[in-house]
Structure formats: structure tokens, C-alpha cells
Amino acid sequence: MDRPAWTIGILSFALLAFEISLMRILSYVQWYHFAYMIISVALLGFGASGTLLFLFRSYFLRRYEIVIVCAVVLCTLFMALSMTLLGIVKFDPYRIIWKFSEVWSLLYFYAVLFLPFLFGASVVGLTFMKKPHQIGRLYFANLVGSGMGSIGAILLTYTADPTTLPTITASICILALVTFLLDRPRRALIASTVPVGVILLVVLWKPAIPEMSEYKSLSKALLLPRATIVGKRRGPLGMLVALDSPALRYAPGLSFTYTRRIPSQLGVFADGEWVGTVIDLQDTTALEFLEHATSALAHRLKAEPVVLTLGAGTGSDVFLSLKSGARSVTAVEMNGQLIELLKAVVPDRRDLLYERRNVVLRVEEARTFLSGSQDRFDIIVVPILEGFTASSAGTQALFENYLFTVESFSEMIDHLQEDGILSITTWMDYPPRSSLKLLATIAEALRETGTDRLNQQVAMIRSWGTVTLLAKRSPFSESEVSAIRGFCEENFFDLVYVPGIRPSELNRFHRLEEPILENAAGEVLSNRRDEFLREYQFFVDPARDNQPYFSHYFKWESLPYLKEVYGTSGVPFFEWGYVILVATLIQLGSLSLLLIIFPLFFLQSKGREKRRISPTLLYFGGIGVGYMFVEVLMIQKFILFLGQPIFSVAVVIAGMLVFSGVGSFFSHRLARPKTGPPMILAIVAAAVIGFTSLYLYGANTILEVFAKLPVELRLTGGVVLLAPLGFVMGVPFPLGLGRLSGSDASLVPWAWGINGCASVVSATLATFIAINQTFVAVLVIAAIAYLLALVSFGGLGGGMAHSSRSGKSSSN
């Protein structure tokens, strides 16, 4: 490979690694959804580079070398100084809904993170313009570098402190600069690299640590008396911290009848948010409180059960099972670092829950475990999903959750003994959202078994703080129902639903002004369900694998009502994740429009150029949208196959980019005059739609096969599945750009910009559509986008000018 290709490849590696590092750091100091918004907007630097290059095309081309050197140096500096610059301004995202001045802080955040992407992408775009004859090889380097960068960043999160990551990626940029300057005078090399290197050292010497948001659980816990961090583990799933304080106690939804001591516990936090507590097994008498929570119900109904706990976390529920006399407990937990942390903070191995003789620990994702296991259990426990405040603010709405879907609950029911019980606990929310959606989803799973006794197979109880839902394969027996009544009576818990419930039994202990949950539960279990779901103020329809967003409850139709009741500034607190997604989309959409339209005012009014505007827009916009829609869809679907979100992100991004790079490399060879580019494009579109549909509709079969494989083979299998898809998707971009540079080279940077903007906008748009519609809708739009690109190809110009390659900007 020649030098420019190396420069592009290394720089692309650094840019993508920087993007992923930022995501980690900002998720730690703020929240995932705020991080998502800030980085999405910053990524428009890719689109903006196209506009910049378009406007100063001839100026930049004349001063090619100095411009490249300056851009790489600026990219390096802004990367290295990003954390320091962010630390200067304090940003409180919650205040933005009240205080306009916070907007300036947000804009500052955008600007600081936008610049490295702008300068980096300008280098790539300018090189494409300068060397159109090499575009296939350059684009190959761009994609492969980006793909490797995503893997590199994920590996780095295991070994390096997250706050030093930007300095590391900046050092990689210097390497790109060195490759560019190698055959130029040594003076230039020294003059450009030495000062930047010194700055890097200065930053490393005094690394900036952005302050964690004061509203995060960890920030608050650190203020407790004698709070000490007793253990830390880092990894791609987040920074785990174990904290000890005599004032830290956790007893979710505890009964008011419990009058004894609640022991202080060790708290565990992931990215600053609550995960759970580590129980001191020596202090057994103090642990009776666990039996006075709604989550203890299932154990009252079964003697010596064989238990499965899905998402066992720090193990409180596993302990409860053992204490209640379980014969054995299989604990499934996907976060291996969490297990390591537990081992590190519990000094005596005998006190380690997961090392107990009758506890089997499986470090894997729950769905993967279920697909691969033939065992059946007396009780399957799914503990509380998330922290207390996180649940009330709806911060999870953007996350795929394949554990809380109809398909997942069906699997769980299949793994129950004939008389087994599924037990799921969630927070009591006012007004009811998660509790109701849980019931609706489980009821749907039971309906799909073909039962006609649904009303006798579920039971639901609540305390003032938590709700526990039980579901069985067979009807609850009379003795079980009376045991449930007894448990509630004794703990002052309320029945939400049991078979044969009487109105006089409702709303007795913890009284609600109106028993909304009880009434709604009756509706969900009745045949008036559809009408109920339509009329309810929140979206509590059953979650499914093709729309796996359990924590998304927002309904646009209810917005006026919610605003009226809770005030405009109150509404975001119901579902921050969704509000941020919409806000991100609006910002990206309007900025992109600006970036794309702005250059058109500077077009000299030549008829030839004007004729190419719409085809260029449709073609490069279309393949940008199509590529990202397919990529987002694959990331979301592969979470299910590969077991962990981080594997999915790594395998899909890296796999698709690298194979697209290969596709790009061969694109010009494929497009022989005989077959003709339109023919190739038609094949590409058909292949994309075919493979994507295959993975979408064949999901269950793939999951079953993958679940039986060890992790390494699963990852390899994932790469194999993606290879053909990535390959064909790498073809259209170089094909189009080659055609355009032959007919109208001045439009090349514009096309680069359009592709960049389209990629960034559609990454967010695809998530938005998946949440509101289903994955199928995402696929349909991707197909339409590719078809649009196909029909507009002819408008890009006559014959092929140069050999060409590749398919999308490497912005993601």
C-alpha cells in the first residue's frame, strides 16, 4: 500500500477509536443517552468536512501538503485536549429544560468534540479529491482502519483508564502524520510532530478527569460517611466500582411490618449507576429482611426448589433462594468483570456466594443460556432490572432489552417444570408503566402457548415500592393462592391479581387513591385488552424481539395531556432516553440540511453541474441511509446472537467496515463494461435486502445454533454472517464517486459531505424508527434507500472516469 493509504488508514483507526472512547467516558460522567446526543452531533464533523472542502476546493488542492499537515495536527491537538477542554465548562443537562444559559454549555461541548472529527474527516476527503485515481485503495484503507479502530478501542477499555484514551488515540494520529511526512524534508517532520508530541506528554502528565454528574448514584454514595471505594474493574460494559459505607443499606420495597435491623452492605455501581449490593454472608440474622420483600413470594410456594436466576448481578436473589431452602441455584450473569469484582472484594472465598457448592454460575447472556440449555426449573427468578432513580427517569428507553420480550418469556416458560413458577420483580411506578407492560408481555407469552386458562396462571402483588409478578405453565392451585394471600396479609402487601380475586381484597394495605394498576391488570388479562392498550396513556403493549424496547412507554398522543398534568418541564423525566433521541434527531436533521444545502449557493450556475445535483444527493444520501439502517439493524439483532451488546457493536461495526473495505477494493474490477455498474448495483441492492431479511426472519434458528457454540466460534460465526453483507455494501460508494469525479469533479466533496451527514442522521433515525415501529420498518426503508440510489446512478454522469472503490463514510 502507498503512503496516503497508510495515513488515511491510521487516521481512520484513531477517529473511530476516539469516538468509541468518548462514548465510554461520557457514559461514565453523564449518562448514556446524553453521551449519545453529544457524540452524534459531534460526528457531523464528517458531513461538515465535505462542505468545507467544497467551498475551498481549489485553495486546498493547491496547498494540499500544508493543509493535510495542519488538519492532522489540529485533529491530534483537539483529540488530546478534549477532556481538558470539556472540564473547563460545567454542564448540567437536566437544567437545560429550564435554563437557557445551559444551551451555551451544550454548544461548547458539541464544538469541542466536533473539531477533531471535522479535521480528521477533512484529511480523508481531501485525499480522495487529490487522488481520485487511487480512490478504491484509499477508501479501502479508510474502512479497514475504521473497522480496526472500533476493535482497538474496545480492547483499550480493558487495559487503559478511560480518561487517558483520547491521548492514546491522539498519539495514533501523530503516527498518521509521520507516515505522511516520511519522504518529505526532515525539518517538516520535526517541526510538525515534536511540539504536538510534547503537548501530548503534558496532557498525559496532568490527565484531566471530567467530573461525574452529581445526580449519579455513585456521586451521591461517595458523600456518605466513611465512604471508601474498595474495588474497581474496568471493561467495555462499564466502569464497575464497589463502595463501602456504614450508611449504605438497600432493601427495595421492604414491608412496613419488618422492624428489625437492615444491615449496611457493600454497594456496586456500573458507570456510576446502581447495580446492587454484596451481602455479608456472615451476618445471616440481619438478612431476614430479604424475606419481607415482594420478591420473596415465589419461594413461599415451593419447598426445596431447583432455581434459575437470570441476571443474577451481585447475588441478593441467589442468596434469598439459598436461604429459602433451594436445592440448587443456577445463576446467569453476563458481566464477567462483575464476578471478578465480587471475588476481589470478598476476602474469604467461603463467603463468596457464587463459589457455594449448590450454586452454578454461568457467565453469559440470559437468552443465550436459555437457547442452549435443556434443563427445567421449579422457579425462574428475574431480579429488579435497574436502580431506583434510573427506573423513575426512564433512562433505559434507548436500550434493546431482549430479556423482557414475549419471545424471551416464552423461552422461560418452556424451561419451567410442569408446575414451575416464573417470578419477576420490578419497581412500583406511578402512574403504572413497567409493571403493566411486564404483565401485558407475560400474558402475551402465555397466550401464545395456546392456553385457555390464562386467568389462573398469573398472580401479581405489590408493596409500596415493588411489584412481583408470578406466572405458571399450569394453573395456580388453591393452596398456592391461599399461600399468596397469607404472604400478603403478613407483610401488608396488596394483591394486584390472583385467580379468583374479589373486589374487597383490593387496595387494602398500601392504598392508592384509585387502584389504577389493579383495574388495568384486569383489563390486560381480559379480552378487552386491545382496546385497553390503545386507550392507556402510556405505551404498554407487549415488547417483542422485533421491537425490544421494554422501557419505552411514551405515546405521542398523550403528550398534550402529560404536559397539562406534569408541566412541560416535568414530561422529560418520564422518559429521558426518548426525549433525548428526538432532540438529537431534530438537531442532526436541521444541521445536516444546512450543511448539504449551504454549498449549493456557491455553485457556479453551470447547467451541467445543476443537472447532477439531484442524482448526487439521492445516490450518496441513499447509500448512506441504506448502509447505516442495515448496520443499526444488524447491531440490534446481533446482540441476540452474540450474547453481549459490546460483542455485537464490535463485530458488526468492525466486520461490516472491513468487508466493505474489501468490497470497495474490488468494486472497479466487478464493474466491467460487460456487466455494467447498474447491473452490479441491482445485485448489491438485492443482496443487501436478501441477507438482512434472512438474519431478521431467521433470527430464532441462528440464535439456537449460536447458543450451542463457545464464545470464540460465536464471534467467528458473526463475522462470517456479516462478510457477504459488508462486501456488497462496500461497492456502491467508490463506484459512484469514480463516476462523479469523471463527470464533475467539483461535486466530489459535496458527495462526501452528503454521505457523512446521511450516515450520522440515519444512525439515530434508524433507532427512532425501531423504537416506534419495528425492525421490519427499518429494513423496508433501507431497501427503499438502496433502490433510490440504484435509479439515480445513471444521473451521475457518463462513462467511468477512474477506477474506484467503496460504499459509505466511515463515520460510524
Binding site: L77, L81, T84, L85, G87, Y94, R95, P185, R187, A188, A191, S192, P195, V198, I199, V202, V203, K206, A208, E214, S219, L223, P246, A247, R249, Y250, A251, P252, G253, L254, F256, Y258, T259, I262, F388, T389, S392, A393, Y430, P431, W464, G465, F492, F509, R511, L512, E513, I516, N519, E535, Y536, Q537, E557, S558, Y561, V565, Y566, G567, F573, F574
Partner: protein, 253 residues
């Protein structure tokens, strides 16, 4: 390339200046406890805002207890908010006071106080002093208020503030609220303002028979429900009260 050299040294110097020292000291909490002096005109403007707040945000939403309305008209809320938020002190929403804590929305403070049904004979316990605003409102009504804050800096600032505002019937203690305040128990009223996923058993113990306890639940910036715990003949009952009227079905509106 030669001019580049001098240029980059300039960049280097700028960067070294920009990289700040990250061990900047925490703001002195005692400064926050000092009562800010305002001119008589300013004070009368605050009074006007306060009366308007009580009328529009509190009385119109259904708070009827005269002693609560009077207390809300009296306590200078602008002295309890951070300097940067003084202009927002009487607005209809919670305000951040640092350390991830907030001073609650005026209406929520009034609603919680009304739920406690306290008189000038009552003694009240508060867990989570925060700025001290809720304690001051209670102090206007009850005989004595005992308030516990776990964060030392917040507790000390609130203590100084309440003292400077001459609330002599309030005692502040920096401690773990889990244990309550045994020596002054039992209480007619207990307010737990620190968002809790459990209610410490000692607090239920320290509640007088026929006493009331209120706990707001939700996000620091949006209280979604209030839990009211009552004790009658040693028996505990509890209720969830929604601060706003929520209609679950669109068709029934």
C-alpha cells in the same frame, strides 16, 4: 516549513496554559450559610413573588390548610437557594442545591406539610435537611423541628442559615438518618426527603401513635408520588398520593 516552528511553540505555550490544575478546592460551604442582605425594595419584591407563588402554585392547586399557606408566605425561600438561582426562587419547580440534591418545588413542600396535619403542639423529625427550607416551613407551624442531614457540608450550611434566620425551634444534626433521633422521639410527624427505596424500621418506631410520615418518591426533579404512612394503635397503614390528578385512559378525559 520554517515559520511553522515558531508557530507551534506558540501553540505549545497556549496548551500548557489551557491545561488547568484539576485539584481546585471545593467551594467553602460556610459561605453558603451566610444570609444574603437585600435592600428593603428587593425584600418587598420577594414578598410579592412569594404571595403570588402561594396564590397561583399552592392555593389554586387545592392546599387549604391556613397554617401551611401562612408558613409558605413567610419563609424567605430566596435565602435557601444557591446565589445563581435567586431569580428563580419563587418559580414553580425544584432547584438544584449541589451534591445532587434539590430544594423541592414549593407546591410539593406545601402538600407534604399539609399531609402531616401538624399543629403548634407538634414535634417533627426531618430526614434529609438539604437546604433547610422544609424545616423552616415546619418550624413556622410546629413547636420543634429536628432535622438530620447525612452530608456534612449541606448540614452545616443549613444549620448556619436557619440560625441566621432566627429559627430557634430547629435543631440540625449531621448523622445517618437511618437511626432517626432517638432522644426526642416519638414524633407527631416525620418527613423523609431523601429519596428512599426502603423506609428505615427505626423511623416507624419513632413515630407517635396517630402520627404521620411522608416520603416523596421519584426523580429529584419530578416527584411522582408521596407515600403517607400512618400509625393507629400500633398498626401501620400507608397510602400513595399523586401530587397531580392522573387519568389513565385517554377516552375518559
Amino acid at each position: 516549513m520554517r515559520p511553522l516552528v515558531s508557530y507551534w511553540f506558540l501553540v505549545l505555550i497556549v496548551a500548557v496554559i489551557v491545561v488547568p490544575d484539576h485539584n481546585s478546592p471545593v467551594t467553602d460551604p460556610t459561605a453558603a450559610s451566610i444570609i444574603r442582605p437585600f435592600s428593603p425594595q428587593q425584600e418587598s419584591e420577594f414578598k410579592r413573588l412569594r404571595h403570588r407563588m402561594v396564590e397561583r402554585q399552592i392555593r389554586l392547586r387545592g392546599i387549604k390548610d391556613q397554617s401551611v399557606l401562612e408558613a409558605m408566605r413567610t419563609v424567605p425561600r430566596h435565602q435557601f437557594v444557591p446565589p445563581s438561582s435567586i431569580s428563580e426562587a419563587y418559580e414553580d419547580r425544584p432547584l438544584p442545591i449541589g451534591y445532587g440534591q434539590t430544594i423541592s418545588q414549593p407546591y410539593i413542600v406545601a402538600y407534604m406539610t399539609e399531609l402531616l396535619q401538624v399543629s403548634d403542639q407538634s414535634n417533627a423529625l426531618e430526614i434529609g435537611t438539604g437546604s433547610g427550607y422544609q424545616a423552616a416551613v415546619l418550624a413556622e407551624i410546629v413547636d420543634s423541628v429536628f432535622t438530620i442531614e447525612i452530608i456534612e457540608l449541606l448540614g452545616e450550611a443549613a444549620e448556619g442559615r436557619l440560625k441566621n434566620l432566627a429559627y430557634e425551634n430547629v435543631q440540625v444534626k449531621v448523622a445517618d438518618g437511618y437511626y432517626g433521633w432517638e432522644e426526642h422521639a416519638p414524633y407527631d410527624a416525620i418527613v423523609v426527603t431523601a429519596a428512599a427505596e426502603h423506609i428505615p424500621p427505626p423511623l416507624i418506631d419513632q413515630l407517635k401513635d396517630s402520627g404521620k410520615m411522608v416520603i416523596p418518591v421519584g426523580h429529584p426533579f419530578l416527584v411522582q408520588t408521596l407515600i403517607l404512612v400512618e400509625k393507629h394503635d400500633g398498626k401501620i397503614t400507608s397510602r400513595s398520593l399523586l401530587p397531580v390528578r392522573f387519568v389513565p385512559f385517554r377516552r375518559s378525559r
